[in-house]
Assembly symmetry: C5
Homo-oligomer: 260 residues x 5
């Protein structure tokens, strides 16, 4: 479970309701079925119009990505790739074939298979880079579904408020209902602005960042496997992959000198 | 028929009107010919000024793209291209000439014709890539027509509301008409904000995504045909095209090893 | 005359005034010299500050581009270039010298002169591409002058309205003037929002699209002339230029095969 | 003195105040020390926080660029470079050394020194291009300081207005002060919106365009000097530099043919 | 301590409160615990949802960067690199090994180690450039955390104001509380707009500019060390690094001539 997602939603909604309660406002006054119907129904409809069915469904499902936590240990991955590079340098790339069954990650396995099969280096690079890019481009649309929801919700919130105000204005003759009517109308704004800024837009941002992290992980794999294919010195490869893992430079170049 | 477009419009407008009805508002109160005249007339005029005639007409026609569903089976297309690659590798590229009549897709036929005619690889690549890009650039203007409409409508809605409020303000002496006048003025905002967020902007987004899908389909064809021209192994080609079809990696690299 | 520009302005302003009239508002109530002075004077001044004199004057003049219609027959142009390619292939590039006097278009003539003069291919490409890009970059600033006007006008409209409201607020003691004062203040908003969305921003967009079309025409010429210099087969050139003319593929590749 | 900057500021503020006077408003009513303190103090503070000291000071100083006029005669510059190219072609690049003392422009002198010193062509290109880009990147931050001021001012104007309205609301019991209080509060909006749209944003735009013109001038010098180093024919160079000077094509290619 | 950050915050908040006091408003009237709870709690929650835990924590910590001053003397750094280039040219790159212990900067030491170890030039370039880019990309997310806070705060401020107004509207029956209630509601807007424009957005901008300066410093190191590896003349290197240090061209090319 992604604790910043759950904690953030609880923190934002909780503190807003607490503040509201401290000021003497009741929670009931901002719970309205009709406003919810207008804002969330209208936003849902607008998003449905904006996306093809396949991408709309994918976007809806990707909300899981915002709530789930997946550890991607880039350091361990880089270490594993450097080990494969050592094996390949010592025993030749065919020696990697026996290691393939150990590899959990499907993309790493697929990439290593190219090396083992002796596919041309340029074809391997083009294919792996295109696969990383295409996968990212395909899934990023899911984040954009939520971004669109975050764009539509506040304006549909205003639409709901204006509809409520029209109703109020038509019944001005009874001033005692004026305040309550305006209050009801304003709840639509609260729903639109609140859902966009506390849920939809932050969800879109978190999904985007998680997809970017996944893309970086795959780029690390692609760069590492391509370096194995080029026969790069494992120590230099370790130094090269440090750009992805973000670790501070240790004694590696020192060691590299001896290994070279 | 594109069910998310139709369903989304029905869902958004239906739920908003339902919410409005549940709150006691009447649908008639938001049906106003004059507001519609101002908002849709003003938006139409602004869009006409913003686009040359040819592109304005194309944009209007492209609304069909938002409502129609066209299945593009990229998997079957990739399979067909891999088959052509096998034929070309076994019997030479001239053997593809007999297959040309089977090809339904005009862009695939045009691309294969280059290969059959023995046109230079670089010229083929430049021409096909320029054709894909130019076709996309030409049609994307159609999506931008709707995006512009979605940009102008809310501001012209505000203009309509302000015009209505001016009328109200000039007749403040009769307070009994105040509420009704303001309500009428607000309907212009509802039309502007609603049409932009439920129709125009989502239409623009859906048209854009469908044009992007078509561009991807043509890029798949171009990449595939160029690989046939380069004599790429059909199994490697299959793996390469997987970036477009988004299928999970199956036993292909395994098989590739044997075929290599 | 560009009928969508003239028609769009007439349509937008006409329908808005018609809607206004139908609602019972008078046209006089939205005609105010002082509001016009504030909005258009303020916008003019802001645009003058924002642009150097030369570019400001060029932008003002480029309004002609939004109102004039210029037919650019890309198909005929492509045909002419393909003919020159045939002549060059048959009789050598020097044979083009006699044709130069027939060429109306100054850019095409300038480009062909490079070929006739035997200037190095890379220098020709660099010079022609730089000329196309520089010409576009220089003129696009004219469209940006109108875009800036469209950005400043609504905010200066709000400034005008607030100035009017300040005046109203200072004279609250006479409520009979309240409505009229607010109405007058609101007219500033109408001028700012209206001029930006019906005139300035659409003008900027149309000028931009016409400059882009001119850039595409020059790119077609540059690509065509560079292909003549490279000695490309006229039939392949015809196919290549189709990306610019947007015509559907005819039997050209078929014919190309025989010509090759 | 840049007459569009001075004229634009005078035009905008003058016509707005004239409009205000014609409507019967007094200039005094929009002169308020406290509102100015809040808006300009707040904006100044926000900009200070947003930029490091060095860049903030540079931005403040660059306001001079918006008000000063500097003639950059690109035609004469191009002519001078073509003359140097003729000298270099006739007498060798070392002959340029004697000409260096005539050169006023420090960047042109620095670039020619590379040629005279016989520095490697690639190093010369990399160094000159990096110098042009770095100089532009360094100074463009100055324009961004004003752009940030133009972004902060309107929102701080709203903040000032809301602070004023809070004050009004707390003293609702005395309705006679209501109008005056609201009027005072609104002046903050006038200051924020007005300073951003008539001063800060247009200043930023003009500074940007002047920096872009300076960058183009240096690019012309760099391209010209690099062409001299490559030994390009002076006539072709003249044609090449025309992309920068924007002059219409004269009989140059004609002459080039004979010179080639 | 970064004096523009501290001074800017003090200047902005101080002058706004001074203006407020001069207009007769009390500071207490804009100090409200509940509004602060709603705005800052809501913004904090939204930012937490928007970022993964690791990046959220990094962003929070990077506020130090906005307040601390770190002198980066690029001139001295360039001078040091030019000295190393002289040593390498005179005594060979291995002579740099003895100098490594003098080097304070870890990135410069790491880069020189590559040269000393005789790693391939292309691998060195790729690795150093990837390291500079990856480091910048990783940390820039921290600036985006503050930018997101600056984006969420004003809308959550509006949300808080609307919640307050709903409370007011429900209690319209007691007009004496009307003004105070609205005033309280407006404080939420002040907190949202103020915190975004005086703190969050300027913080984000300053962090971004400091990260960009650090990136430029590392690029200077990478370019310098790569030039040492290529054996570039130290005088030309000095000229080349001037693009980063922004110093005016001195007599260096003159001297270079003699050294060449």
């Amino acid at each position: 479970m992604d604790i910043t997602t759950v904690g953030g939603v609880v923190c934002a909604i909780g503190l807003i309701l607490l503040g509201q309660a401290l000021e003497g406002g009741s929670v009931e006054s901002i719970l309205q079925t009709t406003a919810a119907l207008i804002i969330f129904g209208g936003t849902l409809g607008a998003v449905m119009v904006a996306y093809p069915k396949k991408q709309f469904v994918m976007g809806m499902k990707m909300i899981k990505l915002a709530f789930s936590e997946r550890k991607a240990d880039l350091g361990a991955l880089a270490k594993q790739i450097v080990e494969f590079a050592s094996v390949a340098r010592r025993d030749g790339v065919l020696a990697l074939e026996g290691k393939l069954s150990e590899v959990q990650d499907p993309f790493l396995r697929r990439a290593l298979q190219f090396v083992v099969d002796g596919v041309d280096a340029k074809v391997t690079r083009d294919t792996l880079e295109a696969a990383v890019e295409a996968d990212f481009e395909e899934h990023i649309v899911g984040a954009k579904v939520w971004e669109s929801a975050g764009g539509f919700a506040p304006t549909i919130g205003i639409l709901g408020a204006v509809l409520g105000l029209i109703h109020v204005m038509e019944n001005l003759s009874d001033p005692s209902k004026l305040g309550g009517g305006i209050a009801t109308a304003f709840v639509a704004t609260v729903y639109g602005v609140g859902s966009a800024n506390i849920l939809f837009l932050p969800f879109a941002n978190k999904i985007k960042l998680k997809l970017a992290a996944e893309k970086e992980r795959k780029t690390l794999i692609a760069e590492g496997v391509l370096s194995i294919q080029e026969g790069l010195n494992p120590r230099v490869l370790e130094e090269k992959l440090r750009a992805f893992t973000g670790e501070e430079s240790g004694p590696a170049p020192e060691a590299e000198k001896k290994a070279a």
